[in-house]
Amino acid sequence: MHDAAISIRGLEKYYGDFHALKNIDLEVAEKQTLVICGPSGSGKSTLIRCMNGLESYRSGTLNVLGLPVGDDTKVIDQVRKQVGMVFQSFSLFPHLTILENCVLPQIRALGRDRTAATDEAMDQLRKMHVGGQAEKYPDQLSGGQQQRVALARALALKPKIMLFDEPTSALDPEMISEVLDVMKDLARADMTIVCVTHEMGFARAVADRVILMAQGEIVEEGTPEQMFSNPKHQISRDFMAVVNG
């Protein structure tokens, strides 16, 4: 395989009769940052969730790091160990401390021993500026802190690709930038990133490419400059007008 981290060809997805993804073709190169935007219900989250097998699809091919993500659960397990994901709702485990939230997945998914896992977890938490919260429980932290813990938890598994599904949509406005800042650091450190977001500032700062989806299709695709200054389609122009205020 060459340097395509994610490669999608002719992907079709249905929810019952509803055609959720229509003939998606997409390549994400290694070390690239791809931002997916578009109005709600356009299939952005569905697409990103297909990439680590959280959603199944009807037809087409989907390769992640050279592995075919399909029905084979063993392959999907392999993919998941190399692909981290951060969700809109943080999804920390509320009955475990911040530290244990980051330690347990390393032990269970990778079979690391506890000492190594604890060192790694503390390292990642410090990088996310939440090292001081290690002994607290998730509900004692602000939304912005929780999302950075979720990021540390995913990064502790040393993924090659990070998927972000609207990581700042559930946050209060004043906390959005603290999460975007660590994400920008990650993008600049050459992590391969696919991010569903409406934060155009983030896209402008670090995205190599932006795709815009509507009604299950990729409507437009280009560099951030092209997308923001000169969108070709009417849907893109309408959407950009809305998100840019």
Partner: protein, 360 residues
């Protein structure tokens, strides 16, 4: 000036103020307080007079036990061993005591969070129950063989209760997980099974286990009657407890399951590390409730010929000699149940506080 204006109102403190606030703040508070004070006083006076002051304690004073006298606790001195040990041979009752203590210790230890691990709990239970059975049954090292038909009294009650919970709880987890399985065949058939078990009376199940199973099942599979009854009871318990656990599983957010899956954690880890701890924590009051109901329901095994503590109590007053002392015997039995059930509910309250603080 402003500071002065913002200072909190200086409420009167001390016992007098406390009393006024809680009992005499309005005229009807005062009226209720006085009426209840009088009622409580009268009830307590009557009870203490009956249970302590006028009570007859020793068997040699049995002739004083008349209708006008207080409680005749002599019955407990005379029949206490029958109540506690049932038909268990008199000379061997120390074994029953030790066996009972071993199961109580096992229960107490498994209530401590430090024993809550997949490795420690099973070891603890196997050790505790093996000790119980070896002591009760005997038949080795010079201990007289006592078959389970002769086990009885308090140790039988505790054995049945803890056996039902220890076998029933993992079954309940299994049923609950199967019922929400993504495979419709499994989900539907376990749902149907739970509904069937819940719609049968416990008595029917126990009769079937004691009487019908031996007719249908080959000898080597039958086990003894007590074992069959405990297993049937455990299945009954599990059908109810499974629904409680399922409710707990449903109350954990869908997002956590997805997060665990996306992190590459295996299914068993998702269940054991993430879902079950939260499910038990969220349903603790209902689970304690179920345990309390079960401890009291154990008395139903009398009907298929086991002399648990309630049946032994009835036997104690069944002979003409102590026939008039049924109130004393029932009060004594109530006290025994109370100790266990009250202990259980205090334990539940302690766990809830502990969990609210974020631990466990």
């Amino acid at each position: 000036m402003i500071n002065e204006a913002l200072a909190p109102p200086l409420g009167a403190s001390g016992p007098a103020a406390w009393l006024r606030k809680h009992f005499f703040s309005t005229w009807y508070d005062t009226a209720f307080s006085l009426i209840f004070a009088v009622l409580i006083y009268l009830a307590l006076e009557a009870f203490i007079g009956w249970a302590f002051v006028n009570a007859i304690w020793r068997v040699e004073n049995k002739h004083l036990c008349t209708h006008d006298a207080g409680a005749c606790w002599a019955v407990i001195e005379s029949r206490g061993r029958l109540i506690l040990f049932g038909l268990y041979p008199y000379e061997e009752q120390w074994r029953s005591t030790l066996a009972c203590l071993s199961v109580i210790t096992t229960i107490a230890l498994s209530c401590l969070p430090r024993f809550w691990s997949i490795r420690r709990l099973p070891i603890l239970w196997v050790a505790g129950f093996a000790t119980f059975v070896l002591l009760m049954r005997g038949g080795f090292a010079g201990l007289e063989l006592v078959t389970s038909e002769k086990w009885g009294g308090l140790s039988l009650t505790i054995f049945i209760f803890s056996g039902v919970v220890v076998i029933g709880m993992p079954l309940a987890v299994l049923f609950a997980l199967a019922r929400r399985s993504s495979l419709p065949v499994i989900a539907k058939s376990f749902g149907f099974f739970i509904d069937i078990v819940r719609s049968l009376p416990l008595l029917t199940l126990l009769f079937a286990a004691a009487v019908v199973v031996p007719l249908l099942v080959p000898d080597w599979l039958q086990g003894n009657k007590l074992m069959r009854v405990v297993i049937a009871f455990a299945i009954f318990f599990a059908a109810y407890q499974a629904e409680i656990i399922r409710a707990g599983l449903q109350s954990t957010s869908q997002g956590q399951e997805e997060a665990a899956v996306a992190l590459g954690m295996p299914y068993w880890s998702l269940v054991i590390d993430i879902l079950l701890p939260q499910a038990f924590r969220n349903t603790l009051p209902s689970t304690i409730n179920q345990a309390v109901i079960t401890i009291k329901e154990t008395s139903i095994v009398t009907i298929i010929g086991f002399f648990e503590v309630m049946a032994s109590g009835n036997a104690a007053i069944g002979t003409g000699e102590w026939g008039n002392q049924y109130v004393e015997v029932y009060v004594f039995l109530a006290l025994i149940y109370f100790v266990f059930v009250f202990g259980l509910s205090r334990y539940g309250a302690w766990l809830e506080t502990r969990m609210r603080l974020g631990h466990a």
